[in-house]
Symmetry: C2
Subunit: 303 residues, 2 copies
């Protein structure tokens, strides 16, 4: 089974505190490495956790609040200094391109590798990327500036061949690909139904990242059935007024979304600097949705 | 005696490595707090070492390579989130003002306190700031983009009163200030020479920061007699060609400048990521100038 995991590099909200860093995480699926948000210090966190950052092919930035992108210029520079030549795909609000160009202008920097910039459209969910194994789409969030989350999905996997049965019936190799696609085996008058020769594959897995958002129940359909969701929980219910004013969620909001969407596991993150001890946030969410966990920087979360 | 010390927050060159951070340091003199350069992660380093960053009144940025300023937008934002209202004075290449304005534009940020921007003139040394106790000037460095260091000097202190002698001779209080300025005591026909009533004050102390520079012997007059100098030592002599190409110094270069200027102590910093063990750099410099030390992040260096 292909690896599919998420390493959280930063789970603090705007003000870093108690050793927690601004938002960033590394999504690893089927040998691909995607960086999601890149708060200040992300490159140091990648090094600290021995995550090789030259393997990152795509970076997705949810919005242009500093705690979600201020680590990017430094990371791009380090990739350059370490001799990168592979293109890097960057998905963000188009303003980020201007910010990066201005940084490069004053530092007289010309990167040794191409950065392919893909401006995000925050009006409705879009498919951003797909290849033979994965697809990545946006999730429109509700925040004080244009902001989106990202959904990482495995594609439907090929059906699993029943090897013993295939050997027994002497099915030729040329037919295998059709079988994995669900076709029956046909040779002259012989027809063997696909179900006799193959088994259902593992269901495709799904991870969603909801960076900064007010409570937004219309996220539910897109999160439906996800294996893992990271949802911001900047505040607790006793700070509801502040959460609404700053367009953030409470731990209970995050859990309510998780429950409604019938996801498997929820990770809380984007914690306010007012909370040293995070257990009260965990408890508030756990009361609504038991499969809730706290983000831990450096820890790998299996999807 | 007024405190005068320097806490190094980052001593790495462009690529952070081995837990070392990009350039930044906090200069504390006579109750004033000055931040010098602000590489990525500076705000986290300040917190890590329990240095209260709201006390910083002036920030000096040597040049616009990312490893010297990319921590600034995050620090300014955190000062804002923590409710700062005091003005902050920022000295840097004028391009930085544009970079900060663009960051604020896309994040829809309006800081709650004024940032007073002072564009640096890189053509010749200038006095940037003075008050009754300290003065701060630039030091023009030799680098691939406009770059300057900074010299922090105490002002000449008032002469020390010889209290016993003054009591014995019944000198009135009104005359004290004149005595501390070096005036003789005069009352009618009585003249008491200043030297009988006062003693020399402690000599003013001087610290200089040389961030990024090729070997530049014409820094010597400005560094003359400094108590402490932080000088970059990105490379060792075996990398001289690379040092010249990138306009950086070797450990030996830094030591040679220190020796020529007759300074008291030299701190090496801005270490290349190629050196895990820094002892060879220390040894190379020590052979030329024995009072050489390595920068240690978080450690207070007394001037």
């Amino acid at each position: 089974m292909d690896a599919f995991d998420v390493t959280i590099l930063g789970c603090s909200s705007a003000l870093p505190a108690f050793g927690r860093h601004p938002s960033s995480q590394l999504v690893h699926m089927a040998g691909r490495y995607f960086l999601v948000d890149c708060g200040e210090g992300a490159q140091m966190q990648l090094r600290r956790f021995s995550l090789k950052f030259q393997r990152i092919s795509h970076i997705f930035i949810s919005h242009l609040h500093g705690d979600h992108y201020l680590g990017l210029p430094g990371l791009l520079s380090s990739m350059h200094l370490l001799g990168r030549t592979e293109p890097l795909h960057l998905y963000a609000d188009e303003g980020l391109n201007q910010i990066l160009e201005m940084n490069n202008k004053y530092s007289h920097t010309v990167l040794k590798y191409p950065v392919v910039f893909h401006p995000l459209d925050f009006s409705e969910p879009k498919l951003l990327f797909e290849d033979e194994k994965v697809k990545i789409s946006t999730l429109i969030l509700k925040h004080s500036i244009p902001c989106c989350g990202f959904v990482f999905e495995e594609k439907e996997k090929p059906r699993k061949l029943r090897k013993e049965k295939i050997a027994e019936l002497n099915i030729p190799i040329a037919s295998m690909e059709g079988l994995t696609r669900g076709e029956d085996y046909v040779a002259g008058d012989t027809i063997i139904p696909n179900a006799e020769l193959t088994a259902d594959p593992l269901p495709p897995r799904k991870y969603a990242y909801c960076s900064d958002t007010a409570y937004k129940p219309d996220l539910v359909p897109q999160l439906q059935g996800a294996d893992l969701v990271y949802h911001e929980a900047t505040f607790m219910e006793d700070m509801r007024a502040r959460a609404e004013q700053t367009m953030h969620s409470t731990a209970k909001d995050a859990a309510t979304i998780a429950k409604e969407a019938g996801i498997k596991r929820l990770i809380l993150g984007h914690f306010s600097a007012r909370y040293k001890d995070l257990n009260p946030l965990l408890e508030e969410a756990h009361n609504v949705f038991p499969q809730t966990y706290l983000a831990h920087e450096g820890e790998k979360n299996y999807v």
